[in-house]
Structure formats: C-alpha cells, structure tokens
Symmetry: C2
Subunit: 454 residues, 2 copies
C-alpha cells in the first residue's frame, strides 16, 4: 500500500538540455526541399528564432537552459518518479516498475517543457504571435500557457477529430487566451485544398502543421512553434530523463527497460535519450521500447526516408520513419500519437538498434490505463496508456519468466481531459482501428523521390 | 516572471492532525435528534467506524495520523506553496500573495486528504461499502480513489445539476470503479419523497447526504462517509495548514490574511485552523476570511442554530450557521459550495470573532479564476475561485492603501474537470444567481425548535 516517491530538490532541476546528436554515430541533417542541400540556420529562421534554429542543427552535447526558463520549470519540476508498488501487486509480478510523472504541470502533460522554452526564445526575438498544430490538445494548451506567461498571441490549428473529442482541451486553450480552430480549416490554402478533396477529413497532425506553417510564413511577426518531431523539441524534453537518472540513483536501482509512448517522439526522446546517452558513452545498457498505436504504425510499418513533416510539403525534408506525409490515421482517442512521421533522432536511434518499437491496439491501452488508475490512482492520458500497456506486458513477461527486472516508463500526462474517452471505453463503445494497408501503400508511394545525397 | 515555490521534504508531512476543538473557548456537541442529548460515540457508530466517531467528539489536540495514511499522502504531499509573483504584477499590488495548491492529488483537489483516512478506518473496521454525497464531484471522486486503494465499494449520490454540469467528474468516479447516481434518485425513500414534491429538483448536498445516510443505515456492511462539515473531516484537512505554517516559515514571512472558500467548510478549516491554533495559543494574529457564494450565503445570511446536516433529518443536530436544511441553492457551477450549513467548528470560529465571512457572485469568481489562470498558469476549480476573488480584492485594497500585506489563500483544486463552466463564462452565458430571500425565509422557518440545552 505504501507510496514510494523519489523527489528531487529544486536545485537539481537540470541546468542544460542533453543533445543526443552529439553521441549518435550518425545524424542526417534536414534538407532544403528546393535544393536538396542540408538546411542552414538561415533557412529555418523564416519560421523560428535563430536560437531554436541553431539548436535544431547543432551537434553540441549540452545546451544551457536560460535562467528564466529554468525558473518557470520550477513551478512543476523536478517532477516526481514513483515506484508503482500497488501496480506490481495487482499484476503479481516480480518486476520493479517505476514511472516518471509529467502530469503535474499546469497544462497536465510534459509539453510545457518545450512550450516555455519556445515562448521564451520567440519573445526575446521580438515575435508577437505563435502558430501551431495540436492533436489531442496537450501541445496546443501548453503553448497557450507559454503565450499567457510571455504575452504572446497563440493561434492553434487543432486536428478536427480531437477538436470534437476533447472539448475541454480546447476550452483550456481559450482559458489561457489562445485561439483554436479545427483543422483542416478554411483559413489557409493548405486547409482549403484538403477540404476540397475531402470535406469530411478528420484531420491529421501533418495537415494542421501545414496550416500553422503557412500562417507563420505569411507574417513576419508570427513564428511557427512545433510540439514534437523537431530536434530542438526533443532536446527540451530531456529534462525528464536527466531527472529520472538522478531519481533511479536515489532508488539505488537502474532500469533494464525504459519505455515511452511514441507519436512525434519528443516525450519518448525526453525520457530515454539521457539513458541512451549514458549507454553511448560507455555506461550501462538499457532496452528502450517505443510504444505506438496500431492505428498509426510509423515505427513498425513505416519506411525510412526523407519526407515532409507536413501534408502541404512546407517543412524541410526530414530523414525519418514515415508512413508518408499524406497519411491520415484513423480517429483513435490518443490524438497526440496520430502522426505519419517521427522525430529524426528517434528514427536514427531505432535504425542504430538502440531502441525497439511495438504497436499496440487502442482498447488494450485503455484497459492498461484503467488497471493503472485503479492501482496507482492517477488516470493517465490516452497517449500515456501506450507506455503503460508495454510496461504491463513486460511486467507480465517477467512474472512468466520469474525475472525481477526494473522497468521505467514515462507517464507523460494525466487523463482528466480525456474522461469522455474513458467513458466510451467502459461502455464498450471503442473499437480497435487498425491501419488501412492500401491507404498506407498509397501514402508511402507519395514520399518524394530521394535527392542524390540520400 | 520567476517562480517562487516552497517545497517541503516528505519527512515534513505532518504526523498528526490538529484538532482546533482543543483550543476553542467553546464547542457545542452534536445532539441526538430524538433525545436532544449530546451524541455519543455509540450513537455515531451506526454509520461510521468507532475511530472516526471518536475523532468526531474528542477534545484532544493532536490525533496521530496512521502510518498507512501518511504513506499514501506522500504520493502528492507535501503539497507546494507558491508566491504568486506574476499575479502580483498583473494586479500591480504591493501585497505579497501566496497560495497553497492542493490540485496535485490524483483526484485534483484537497478531498483525498480525508478520503484516504476514511477509507483506511472503514477498511480496518471490516466495512465493505461506503455511501456518500457529492456536489461538483471532488469528494465523490476522492472517495472513489480511496475505494480503489482499499478495495471498498463506493456508492455516490451526486447532486443532479452537477451530475449534468460535470460529466468528467462522474466519469472519474467510474474510472476508479465507483457507482454514481444523480440525486435526488428513486433509489431511496429520501430521494423519492423529494421527487414527489418537485420532479425537477436540481438537487442539493443536503438531499444527497440523506440518500447516502439512508443507504448506510440499511446495511451493516455499508458506512456513510462525509466529504465535509463533520469535525473529523475538518480534522483530516489540517495537514494543509500545518504544512503551510512550515512553508511560510521557509518564506521568512507570515500571513496577515488567510483565505479559503467555504462550502461545507473542510477546505477552509484545513488551511486556516492551524493558523488560528497558533493565535489561540498566544501566537501571531491573522485575519481569516471565509469566501462563500452569494447564491448560498450560509455564513453571511444564515442563522446560528442546531439544525440537521441533511434534508431528510437523518443526521445528528449540528450547531452551525444554516440556511435551513430544506434550502435548495441555485444551480451555480461551484457545486461543492452549494450547502445549507457549515462545519460546526467553522461556525464557532466565526461566532467567536476569529474569522470573517463574505459572499461573492459567480461571474466575479470566474473573472478572478481567469486572471489567475493567465498569470499563474493553473486553472482553478470554480470552488477555489471564491478564495481567489477574495484574495484579489484584498490585494487591490492593499494597492489602494499602499500597504504590503501578506495574503495566503487556499487553491483547493484544479479546474480541468470544469472547463465546460469556463467556456460558458467566456461565452457570456453565466449569470449571477443571488439567493431567493423568500426561499431562505421559508427554509429558516423549518429549522427544528431548540431543545432545552441549546
């Protein structure tokens, strides 16, 4: 029954972000889509401030966290790491299960870790407005929070299916003063083009990203802010894993397995990269597991290719696992995981054998979420239940094999905004939506032909 | 822009609850409604375990917290205390504003502080099921959490208007495995009697309490669990104020004013009683302000009398400020504050001049909540906005008077379940519902005639 919590002091909040690009044997740069040449800082500054563009491309290992950002982090950081003793008991497993909980932030997820950083740099650069995409709304509400803190306008294109599934997330953005429209919208050329082809399109992160980038490109005082995928976003999230390293040390333990849910990849990167960094620099080995939805199986069924991050082909080309930038995933409730691609650094780690990936069905994830809520008390976001599913499956394997392994997973956010989805699950109204093989094949065929250097 | 957080260590979680009854000059006992004699432990054990009945009546000052309860507290305690620097800046006030944040618990409010304790004692006593009332659902979901932790069934009668206003709170109870029905229901004689008189009755905490007590009285393995009002509930919440005392010490400051929202009174008691205890034992003086809704003005318009805690007259008679046990308040969104009475200990403190009370209108509270959310980042529960309204008003007075006073308020819960209410406020769809003077007069007239000893 006892709670075991590992709580760091405020002065143990990391002072720098960890850039795994410094330690990976190979990193492929983003390419300018017109020239096929590696993108430069100047190429990127049309839609983001110079400092973020530099973070996107740098191979430096440690990037100092600005004092202001670190001070704001202190509102909810260091986040706690728990031993899941009641869950272990419920499963009857000899495994030692730990979880790092990011739901204590004002927006209820890990996303403010980068939202605050991006808000800070954009404010410093004299920007007045930020445009972004959001799936389930965790990112949109976190950027809205940053907008409120730094006095920036925030415009959010929210994937249409989530806009209707998650009305409270939308309301949270409004509460912070942001504007939020369902995507595809009629406000951009990218949105109108999609609607002309499919008026009932449920939307996708790639579409919403196109709309946000278009808005940013058309106004010198508006920048784009990305919620995942990009190197600098993954970078900012590494405060999670750096804290977890210290906390596992407090626990006098070290994970055999580290698990994160995978959508765009920043939450997964944030928890696991600092552990992989230890390994890459000669430290202990860990198994890293990326758990993605069966309905959007980027890592398990995608191809590795240079592809666009968005549907309208406005981003640089990113080398990553991709289902093709035109892929529109089924309307699962883990809206934050409905993305055709993945962070290039995560993709590289998977290619390098530093990580394994698995795809899990929606209802099995909600089942895991319910088991977790009833044993540990915290209701997880649908995205996070993908990590819990994998953690429970590993713990059950440990039971079968009689092995006491240490399993650490990332609990990226709470599910207080997602209780409509839980009600549907409990009422047996949720189905497992697999991916449409034909749709994926068609989408894969639309990945741009490689340039010479690919 | 900087965050100032005062975070205690886990070993600073209080080891005992503080019972203000030991220090108040006068405490009137609950009365057996049949005999008019002070209720005994035996009178109470029909619906609660002996240890809680003893806590209800004791005049001992310090009640040891069981180790199991303290260990579970450690999941979210000690809770942080913040200096609201960004709010101070937004208001341009010289006041120093502090808030104690209880929204980090798994249920998102202060209510698990007593839910866990009550679950523990009932489990120890061999009880299988708990029945309770809930307004907005903060209490029902917290008891549901305790039920999940201790393996107890939980049956919640949720005030009908809130049942429909707060679908996510209801879903949270389901997620934890509890059953939840709208009150008045057809499941109890008390509910049926109300429905016969008024089929459209929106419900009230006093009605839902009757239903829960009736269920508990009819089954030896079911107990009643109260979410507020009762002495032992206020007692359990004093972990809040005890921690805040240590944290104000860390801040090298002491509040001139301590503010809590007031419904049943347990949150208010939890924060303020330890400060009043200091004062009563010769320590520093504080102004304590209870902030209640204008639509349910128990402390500002009620009478002090022995009255029932519930509509169907099943509870002992409690000496308290009351609008009459038959009062049905308007359907405001701060459902947790819609109660006709108040904790007798809070009432006594008010009678003794240890506390002042004010009533605030709904829209002014949401306005304060929005100001707070946009400056401090945390979206407050509608109940908590009543404390924020009073804190902001005091801070503005400080600005006018050029005084730098220290103001501490209780932020009892987050508003992530209440974003539908915020949307309505922002869309200008919320009105201020005052109280109906005639209804109050009629209800006051139904307070039972006093026994000789009153």
């Amino acid at each position: 029954m006892d709670t075991i919590k590992y709580q760091l002091r405020d002065d143990q909040i990391p002072t720098s972000w960890y850039n795994i690009a410094a330690d990976l044997p190979r990193v492929d740069p983003p390419l300018h889509p017109g020239t096929g040449q590696p993108a430069t800082v100047d190429d990127l500054t049309g839609i983001m401030p110079k400092q973020l563009a530099e973070q996107e491309l740098t191979l430096e290992r440690d990037i100092e966290i600005p004092a202001t950002v670190r001070q704001i982090y202190a509102q909810w950081r260091p986040s706690p790491l728990f031993r899941a003793r009641r869950l272990e008991q419920a499963l009857g497993t000899p495994a030692r299960i730990y979880y790092k909980y990011e739901g204590g932030s004002p927006a209820g997820s890990h996303k403010p870790n980068t939202g605050i950083a991006q808000g800070f740099y954009n404010k410093e650069a004299g920007i007045r407005r930020l445009a972004t995409e959001t799936g389930a709304g965790q990112w949109g509400s976190s950027l809205a929070l940053a907008g409120a803190f730094f006095g920036l306008e925030v415009k959010v294109f929210m994937v249409k299916v989530s806009y209707h599934q998650k009305p409270y997330r939308r309301a949270l953005m409004h509460t912070y003063g942001a504007t939020c429209v369902p995507s595809p919208s009629t406000e951009t050329a990218a949105g109108r083009a999609i609607l002309a082809e499919d008026p009932d399109c449920p939307g996708a992160l790639g579409i919403a990203t196109s709309e946000a980038i278009e808005v940013a490109m058309n106004d010198p005082f508006t920048n784009y802010a990305g919620g995942s995928v990009l190197n600098h976003v993954a970078l900012h999230q590494t405060v999670i894993g750096q804290e977890a390293l210290l906390q596992m040390d407090m626990a006098d333990d070290y994970p055999d397995i580290v698990i994160g849910c995978a959508g765009g990849g920043s939450n997964l990167a944030g928890l696991t990269f600092p552990f992989l960094g230890e390994q890459l620099r000669g430290g202990k080995q860990v198994r890293v597991i990326a758990s993605e939805p069966e309905a959007c199986p980027t890592l398990t069924k995608g191809q590795v290719a240079y592809d666009f991050g968005d549907t309208a082909q406005l981003t640089p080309l990113l080398k990553m696992h991709t289902l093709g930038h035109s892929f529109v995933p089924p309307s699962i409730h883990a809206g934050g995981l409905r993305y055709h691609g993945i962070a290039p650094l995560v993709s590289q780690a998977l290619q390098d054998g530093l990580m394994e990936a698995r795809a899990v069905p929606q209802t099995a994830c909600f089942e895991a979420g319910l088991t977790f809520a009833r044993s540990e008390g915290i209701v997880p976001a649908p995205e996070s239940t993908h990590a819990i599913r994998a953690a429970i499956d590993e713990a059950l394997r440990c039971r079968e094999e009689g092995r006491s392994e240490a399993i650490l997973f990332g609990l990226s956010g709470h599910g207080h905004f997602d209780l409509g989805s839980y009600e549907k699950y409990m009422a047996d109204e949720l189905a497992d939506e697999g991916y449409d093989e034909e749709l994926v094949a068609r989408s894969l065929a639309r990945i741009p032909a490689p340039f010479g250097q690919v």
